[in-house]
Amino acid sequence: MNIRRTLATAHRVLLQLRSDPRTVAMLLLVPCLLIVLLRYAFDGRQEVFDSLGAPLLGIFPMIVMFLVTAVATLRERTTGTLERLLTMPLGRLDLLLGYALAFGLVALVQGLLAFGLTVGLLGLDIAGPSWALLAVAVADGLLGMALGLFVSAFAATEFQAVQFMPAFLLPQLLLCGLFTPRDTMADWLHAISDVLPLSYAVDAMNRLTSETGFGGAVAADLAVVLGCTLLALGLGAVTLRRRTA
């Protein structure tokens, strides 16, 4: 791992993003737009928005970051630039952390925008501290990014990469406790949801919605989300092979 090469990679990824302003605009604005839609879909029922707002503030950035990162890294694999980089003195972690830094920065800006909109303009009311909401939202964006990096290894085309969203994220969405509380699920479903990272992201958001302060349970959930992010990055590093058949 080498700081100079990691930063150069992050800089390069950001330059690539800059040359595609439409993607940047969608990355930053789509989660905001979705949250506005949610708010007005439950117009006049502030308690529904208050209970759903926090979990969705975490879920939307995760989905968007997942898609963008999966396609971006797949493109690196299919255009031969990955093979070129791996013949150079670039560590696999330099590459992954470079991506993580660049997209992590995007996740941070995205989280700030969505958070400011939700808490500031739309008046989301939660019991816990609002800075914790922001922290969990950004962590969710990072998780989406790391999962996208990882699954791109299993996609041969961009069509496949996009299909990983319904295949990989939607089951997590169904089981994360957003539609029905996790402890009312059948045991086997509950067991599955226990090993899915999105469940912990939503648990954290639900706790922040209903409990005051930043408790140990929220910290534990946040640690699981960040741990899964690191695990996905590590698994992603394993899928980058210098020698291929």
């Binding site: 100079r4 390069r12 040359s19 013949t87 003195p89 210098r242 020698r243 058949a245």
Partner: protein, 247 residues
């Protein structure tokens, strides 16, 4: 870091891809400072051989040593430049942004991007987006990236394909200039008329090496008028031997 080992030393190299033998016992050496042409029809295993030398190909058996070290050794990564057949550069970045990034990864001098840009004749296109360049220009950006950091060995997979005759001649001049500066070049091509521009030739067919000699010696040995003729005569000589073995 200099030593007397040949630039490339391949012993009994076998590679299997998708259950099919692609390289079947290749032995060769590439002398330092040479411009060695690797010629053969499409699909004969040229790219696989080059990938093995660069160290990105999983090999079945045999040994590949580059500059005295096992192919793909970490300390070789800034001493060997590799250009793949398809240009491997970022189309959504400018030419210079591409070169600056690769230079940073290689730890090459800051002046290198401008230098290599002039060497491939793209000095005026530094600010252009690679995606807006022609195919031939993209190929030269890819080549320029491999020249960063002045590698000791350059492995070029069909670098002149799709280029007009004037550009091809300019690139071959560049290759000889680089060799005169101490670099070794291994250049593949399926166009036999490029052979005359090399100081040494490797002729390949169906995963085997047919010949390894200077262009002059190949012409003398086969009595052919050009390398294409020499190649055909070598194939004809090899054919009875293989059918006998099959029996």
């Amino acid at each position: 870091m200099m030593n007397s080992a040949p630039a490339v030393d391949v012993r009994a190299l076998c590679v299997v891809r998708g259950g099919r033998p692609v390289l079947q016992g290749i032995d060769l050496t590439v002398a330092r400072g040479s411009v060695t042409g690797l010629l053969g029809p499409s699909g004969c295993g040229k790219t696989t051989l080059l990938r093995s030398i660069v160290g990105v190909q999983r090999i079945e058996s045999g040994e590949v040593r580059v500059l005295g070290l096992p192919a793909g050794a970490p300390t070789l990564r800034d001493r060997v430049g590799y250009v793949t057949q398809a240009p491997s550069v970022y189309t959504d970045l400018s030419v210079l942004a591409n070169l600056r990034y690769f230079a940073e990864v290689l730890g090459a001098p800051r002046t290198d991007p401008d230098r290599v840009l002039d060497e491939v004749g793209l000095g005026e296109h530094g600010k252009d987006l690679v995606g807006r360049l022609s195919g031939g220009q993209r190929a030269r950006v890819s080549l320029a990236a491999a020249l960063l950091g002045t590698p000791e060995l350059l492995v070029l997979d069909e670098p002149t394909v799709g280029l007009d005759p004037v550009l091809r001649q300019e690139l071959w001049r560049l290759f000889h200039r680089l060799a005169a500066g101490g670099a070794t070049l291994l250049v593949s091509s399926h166009v036999m008329d490029e052979a005359a521009r090399c100081t040494a030739l490797l002729l390949m067919r169906e995963g085997r090496l047919l010949a390894h000699d200077t262009p002059r010696a190949l012409l003398d040995a086969t009595g052919a008028e050009d390398i294409e003729g020499a190649f055909l005569s070598l194939v004809a000589d090899a054919a009875p031997a293989t059918s006998e073995r099959a029996r």
